[in-house]
Every structure is written in structure tokens, then in C-alpha cells.
């Protein structure tokens, strides 16, 4: 069983489109995250949720909207996609914010 799974693994789309990435964890963790990894492999947190409540929103454009329907799911919706949004997006979860995080396999988003 995959602990943190995200879909799709690859996403190629045109500028201006709206797309969603789904994430699910079966670890029973309270905290979930979205990270963005750019072409230089730099990792930056985008959002953090704890028990479905938004804890961190790291100066991410409003076009990015996370949604946590329950503790096990954290989805990411992106409106009006731009070329600069091309990156690998990782979902992760942890028991608490200061414990080790478990990462999904990533979603490689390419905006053309």
C-alpha cells in the first residue's frame, strides 16, 4: 500500500487551463503539505494543513487553491495556468509539523 499517493504523475496542459492534483495518505497523519520543486531542485513549501485547517500559506498566488475534504486528503487546484507553474509538485504528510514527513512520488506539471 502506498503511504502517500498523488495523481496524476504527469500533467501536460496549455496556458490558461485549470487543473487539479489529488493527494491521499493512509498513514493516519494529522498534517499534510504541498511542496513545489523547481527546475533547480529547490523545494519550497506552498501550503500546510493540520486536521483540515490551513496552517501555512507561503505567499502562493491566489490561482493556487488547496482543499482538504478530510484529514486523509489534500488536493491542489490551479487556475489559469502559466508557464512558470511548470515544476514538480509534491504532497507530503506527517503526524505533527515537527515530525518526519512522508512524500508522494510527485506530479510533474508542464505548461505549454
Amino acid at each position: 500500500d502506498t503511504a502517500v499517493s498523488q495523481t496524476p504523475k504527469y500533467l501536460v496542459t496549455q496556458m490558461g487551463n485549470d487543473k487539479s492534483i489529488k493527494c491521499e495518505q493512509n498513514l493516519g497523519h494529522d498534517t499534510m503539505y504541498w511542496y513545489k520543486q523547481d527546475s533547480k531542485k529547490f523545494l519550497k513549501i506552498m501550503f500546510s494543513y493540520n486536521n483540515k485547517e490551513l496552517i501555512i500559506n507561503e505567499t502562493v498566488p491566489n490561482r493556487f487553491s488547496p482543499k482538504s475534504p478530510d484529514k486523509a486528503h489534500l488536493n491542489l487546484h490551479i487556475n489559469s495556468l502559466e508557464l512558470g507553474d511548470s515544476a514538480v509538485y509534491f504532497c507530503a504528510s506527517s503526524q505533527k509539523a515537527n515530525t518526519e514527513a512522508f512524500f508522494g512520488q510527485g506530479t510533474r506539471l508542464t505548461v505549454v
Binding site: 531542485k41 501555512i56 514527513a101
Partner: protein
């Protein structure tokens, strides 16, 4: 603000030799420190952490790390490198307080040559 520095973009070692990947951090309060590894086209995998206690922590795949409070460092080490250790390594710090998040270093690409 909390930060992590990994001064080396790349580290090359010969198989069987010891390896060190460097990390220094800056945080107010007591740090929670982590090392993660990323293999190509994969997500990050947790290797080890320091929370409190013994300054030398042991983790997965024979890796260990030494916490040095005076030097604010948390270097990753392995006594004998394997070719399969070749990957991208990230150091991360959680500082608590207003910085309620995990901050990652830029990563160090480790290449172990046969």
C-alpha cells in the same frame, strides 16, 4: 527566520570511502533537524532526524549524522559509500514558534564512483 545551508552543490566520492554531506542551520530556539534523500524521478525519503539527546543519530541505509550545537551543523555521514547511495540529499530544519514549517536546504548531489 530559519534557514538551512548546504554549501556543496555536489560531492563525489569513491565507492568504499567515507562520505560527508555538510549542513548548517539557523533557527531561534531548539532545532528539529532532518535528512532526506531523493532518487531520480522519485519523492523524498526520510533518512534520519535529530530532536534531542545523543548528538550522533543513526538512520536508514547505514547513514548517520552528528548534531553540533556550537557550530550549528548537522552533517550527514556514512563510513563506506555505495554506488547506490548516489542521489540528491536534502537537509531540513523545523524551528517551531512563528516558523511552524520545515525549511529545506538547496540539496547536495552525491555521486559515488565505482
Amino acid at each position: 527566520a530559519q534557514s538551512v545551508a548546504q554549501p556543496e552543490d555536489q560531492v563525489n566520492v569513491a565507492e568504499g570511502n567515507p562520505l560527508t554531506v555538510k549542513c548548517t542551520y539557523s533557527v531561534s530556539g531548539n532545532p528539529y533537524l532532518f535528512w532526506y534523500v531523493q532518487y531520480p524521478n522519485r519523492g523524498l525519503q526520510f533518512l534520519l532526524k535529530y530532536i534531542t539527546g545523543d548528538n550522533l543519530v543513526k538512520g536508514s541505509y547505514g547513514f548517520e549524522a552528528e548534531f553540533n550545537k556550537s557550530q550549528t551543523s548537522f552533517h550527514l555521514k556514512k563510513p563506506s559509500a555505495l554506488v547506490s547511495d548516489s542521489a540528491l540529499y536534502f537537509c531540513a530544519v523545523f524551528g517551531g514558534g512563528s516558523n511552524y514549517k520545515l525549511t529545506f536546504g538547496k540539496g547536495t548531489l552525491l555521486t559515488v564512483n565505482p
